[in-house]
């Protein structure tokens, strides 16, 4: 029971990412920031108020794609504020708060490559990152549409982007905000562009332990309040449109219709239900 644990110990462990674009990343020196990190901080402030704690000690624990689910499961992390897709497989092991961001999986290419859609990727080399749902997505797409491309998997997003930048790959298929973030930070942002159809729509949410309805309710209520007040749109603007530290670059990715829809109708539907429509 997470609420009790927080109350008893006066501390909470927040799972964060080292570099998940503007959602969650580090400034070094143990400082973690980003859209989801800030939402979580607001949520935890509410939790503190609800529990009547004078002081709540937030511990930040950087997690990776590989260990985030086990860590939430085994109690190391109380609330994971990274860039986790809400899907059915994961729902077997963990629970998700209401969706705060809807990701669209897109294709980044070199601006001068002339590629504008996935169909043109036939025979090309496509990069994506190991241990992400994009890999599966890409393979699904390949099989369904009979396109044939060579896939290369980077160790992490930065590596994958480097594959594109150095010409080892012709395209980088990944979550739109990650593509936008990497392009924004690159040496020559104008050399890249995001093109083509949306390959998939994925609800990204804050992850918490399964079978803890009380905690889920607190978190959900807190987030819903942000949505209702319109506060969440301001947070989004701060991280995805305005310049952000450390290099003061802009991601430049205004909220999509799908994201706005998720704010208007708070829900914790998994990715499978988005795919249906």
């Amino acid at each position: 029971d997470t609420l009790k644990k927080i109350k008893d110990t006066g501390s909470v462990t927040m799972g964060v990412r080292e570099s998940s674009g503007a959602l969650s990343y580090t400034l070094g020196d143990g400082k973690y920031v980003g859209y989801h990190v800030e939402i979580c901080q607001r949520v935890l402030a509410d939790v503190q108020k609800q529990l009547g704690l004078a002081k709540l000690d937030i511990k930040y624990l950087p997690v990776t794609s590989q260990n985030r689910v086990p860590l939430v499961q085994n109690g190391t992390v109380d609330i994971e504020c990274g860039s986790t897709t809400n899907n059915l497989t994961r729902q077997k092991d963990v629970a998700f708060a209401v969706t705060t961001y809807v990701e669209e999986v897109r294709i980044a290419v070199k601006a001068n490559s002339g590629i504008t859609s996935i169909a043109q990727l036939n025979g090309k080399t496509v990069a994506t990152t190991t241990g992400t749902t994009s890999v599966q997505l890409l393979r699904k797409h390949e099989r369904a549409n009979g396109v044939d491309f060579k896939e290369v998997l980077g160790k992490d997003h930065a590596d994958s982007f480097l594959l594109l930048e150095s010409g080892r790959a012709d395209a980088f298929v990944m979550d739109g905000q990650i593509l936008a973030g990497n392009i924004a930070k690159s040496k020559a942002p104008a050399d890249f562009k995001i093109v083509g159809e949306v390959l998939s729509v994925e609800p990204i949410a804050i992850m918490i332990r399964k079978d803890d309805p009380a905690f889920k309710k607190s978190v959900d209520d807190s987030i819903k309040a942000l949505m209702k007040s319109g506060e969440i749109a301001k947070l989004y603007d701060k991280w995805f449109v305005q310049p952000i530290p450390p290099a003061n670059t802009k991601v430049g990715l205004p909220a999509t219709a799908a994201t706005k829809d998720a704010w208007a109708n708070p829900n914790d539907k998994p990715v499978e239900e988005y795919a249906k429509k």
């Binding site: 590989q66 689910v69 086990p70 990069a127 190991t130 241990g131 393979r139 998997l153 160790k155 480097l162």
Partner: protein, 245 residues
């Protein structure tokens, strides 16, 4: 812990649908297919890397014992450079940096670069062992060879190396096992090996169910190499010495 789901291994990795056959069903790639395929990559990278490491490492190790200062210095430098930078960093340099400096390498597939990186990294360690093996031989052996009129290369070929290699089989065995384990970094440059499979598949399904068989496969592979080395060791054992212990 979640319960064990045997069906998982017969499930298609892409569509998450059950395949008609667990292994080798056309049009499907089950978890089992992918794992076996990945294992193949791990072994390929390891064995080719081992070949590079053994050949280059032996050569460098020999150079380091030659009574010629310049040649020996070259061997020393080689060893120091390749063993003092973490493999994962070297791998990255081979993949992303070296081709920028030598554009000819740009077209080289990443699997070749990985084999080179792992092979050369391990060559430094093997050179170290081979050198130690040659130096543990009594100095008199070198003298005896030369006193019979053998040239230096002949002395190495017929006198020093046959014994030195026998002596260093045990440390070379553990280096060979290390190479299988070290190959787990190859995924970082997009080799679809066991490590990459483990990371991708465990993301799509359960951690324990993927990592347990993968760990076992690594274990078995290392063990296999160990057994082969033991066979070689027994085969080349000289009556009357070594092995007596």
């Amino acid at each position: 812990m979640p319960s064990w789901d045997w069906q998982l291994y017969c499930t298609d990795m892409v569509t998450e649908e059950a395949a008609p056959k667990c292994f080798g069903a056309p049009g499907y790639e089950t978890y089992l297919d992918a794992m076996v395929h990945a294992w193949g990559w791990t072994m390929t990278v390891s064995i080719l890397g081992l070949l590079v490491a053994l050949i280059v490492g032996s050569l460098i190790g020999i150079l380091r014992t030659v009574p010629n200062k310049k040649v020996a210095l070259f061997g020393e430098t080689w060893t120091e450079v390749f063993r003092n930078i973490p493999l994962i960093v070297q791998l990255f340099l081979w993949y992303h940096v070296v081709p920028q400096i030598f554009p000819v390498l740009q077209g080289v597939p990443s699997s070749v670069l990985v084999v080179l990186a792992i092979g050369l990294f391990t060559s430094a360690r093997i050179a170290e062992q081979v050198k130690a093996g040659i130096l543990t031989l009594p100095k008199g052996q070198r003298y005896a060879g030369q006193a019979l009129g053998l040239t230096l290369p002949q002395t190495y070929r017929h006198v020093l190396l046959p014994m030195a290699f026998r002596i260093v089989i045990p440390p070379l065995t553990s280096e060979s096992m290390n190479i299988v384990k070290n190959s787990a970094v190859a995924f970082a440059v997009s080799i679809p090996d066991l490590a990459q499979f483990a990371l991708q598949a465990s993301e799509q399904s359960s951690f324990v169910q993927i990592f347990l068989p993968v760990t076992l496969l690594y274990f078995v592979s290392a063990f296999l190499i160990n057994r082969i080395a033991k066979l070689i060791e027994a085969y080349v054992r000289v009556p009357g010495i070594l092995g007596a212990k």
